[in-house]
Amino acid sequence: MPAAKSVIISCAGIGSRLGLATTKALININGKSLIRHQLELFKDVEDIRIVVGYQANDVVDEVRKYREDVIFVYNHRYFETKTGASYYLGAKDGNEYAIEYDGDLLVHPDDIKTLLNQDGEWIAYADKMSDDAVYVKTDENGNVLAFSREQGDYEWTGPCCIKKDKLKYSSGHVFNQLEPYLPIKGIKVRACDIDTYDDYQRALEFIKGW
């Protein structure tokens, strides 16, 4: 039997770079909130854990329209921390393997199916696209060797999956949580994340073809 997995969706941030004055989970993408798109992607996963912080009650209200059996995880220090802390908090009392999915990310539904069927630990990345990216360096087999702010073969988008016991409370990013354990198997996906208003406009175009 495959090891039990949890999906952790990080929705605690204030979305300051986007400038729409709303947490990113609630922004409208082609008529649906971003979090609704994500809940549809993970509809077959039993243990969904949504990390909330800024506008927590609004996110809870939106989620419960579509799904009642989610476990909401509070990151009360969302202003001082980044997604690395939310990943730890979301994972620490969940299942053995913790899949991290940023609340500002859209991944092609077929690629999500592929990722959910993977065993063990992995990191997903995409073709370079965003304004403000972190890159991954890979070997000839696509395994992730390093993360870099300057250059790399692909853009680090996530999601990723590692054993929850490897995560620690940190003030860093998700990729900082992964760095001590590299190399990790890499998988290329069709994905876009939404950090800035330009990313948002691109995402609307990007998912039209899905």
Binding site: E46, D47, V52, A56, N57, V60, R64, E68, D69, V70, I71, F72, V73, Y74, H76, L89, D93, G94, N95
Partner: protein
């Protein structure tokens, strides 16, 4: 070992017990006014509790106890408790004489408030349960404590617990509860999944 301490009203029971009692005895208006003022923060919890016992204390204990014995419970939560009886505890502000039949049905240890009874009535409130003291007692014994609750009188216990779960199954938890909670669950599936993950 992990100890699971549950609030009773709205966490194990599907309905709050106070409105059931007040409806049965036709004292809704009196109780509703007090409840509303308490929720607004105009009457502090302990004061509200003392006033509530003063009102309810005049009711026949056996009738209240029989009424509460029939309150509907969350079946999956009851199943979890019965499978982990030794490590599950109820902490309720209710008086023991009112909830003893209900609690006996659930089958785990329970800490309540106490009152002096005479002629089938409560004549004096003698002790108000502070739930945080139960959490601290188990922590002092070296146990990891998980607290599950939904109301203002759960906040201090949740703050002291190693892990606190806000239960939004019967009503959405008070904001004070959410400000200290590690987790929020909205139905039994989510709560029981999380409890089993914490075993």
């Amino acid at each position: 070992m992990t100890k699971f301490i549950f609030d009773l009203d709205g966490t194990i029971t599907k309905q709050e017990t106070l409105p059931i009692i007040s409806k049965h005895f036709g004292i809704q208006e009196e109780i509703d006014t007090l409840t509303k003022e308490t929720i607004k923060g105009n009457v502090p919890f302990v004061e509200s509790f003392i006033k509530r016992v003063f009102i309810l204390g005049k009711l026949p204990i056996n009738e209240v106890s029989n009424l509460l014995e029939k309150v509907e419970l969350y079946p999956k939560v009851i199943k979890f408790i019965s499978e982990n009886k030794e490590n599950c505890i109820i902490a309720t502000g209710n008086l023991e004489c009112w909830v003893e039949k209900l609690v006996a049905k659930i089958g785990c240890k329970c800490y309540c408030s106490d009152g002096l009874t005479e002629k089938n009535q409560v004549v004096k409130l003698t002790r108000i349960l502070r739930k945080e003291n139960i959490v601290l007692k188990f922590k002092t014994d070296g146990e990891k404590v998980v607290f599950i609750g939904d109301g203002n009188n759960d906040v201090e216990a949740m703050r002291e617990a190693d892990i606190s779960i806000a239960s939004g199954m019967t009503h959405f938890p008070a904001n004070s509860v959410l400000s200290v909670a590690d987790y929020l669950v909205l139905n039994e599936e989510a709560l029981c999944r999380q409890l089993n993950q914490l075993l």
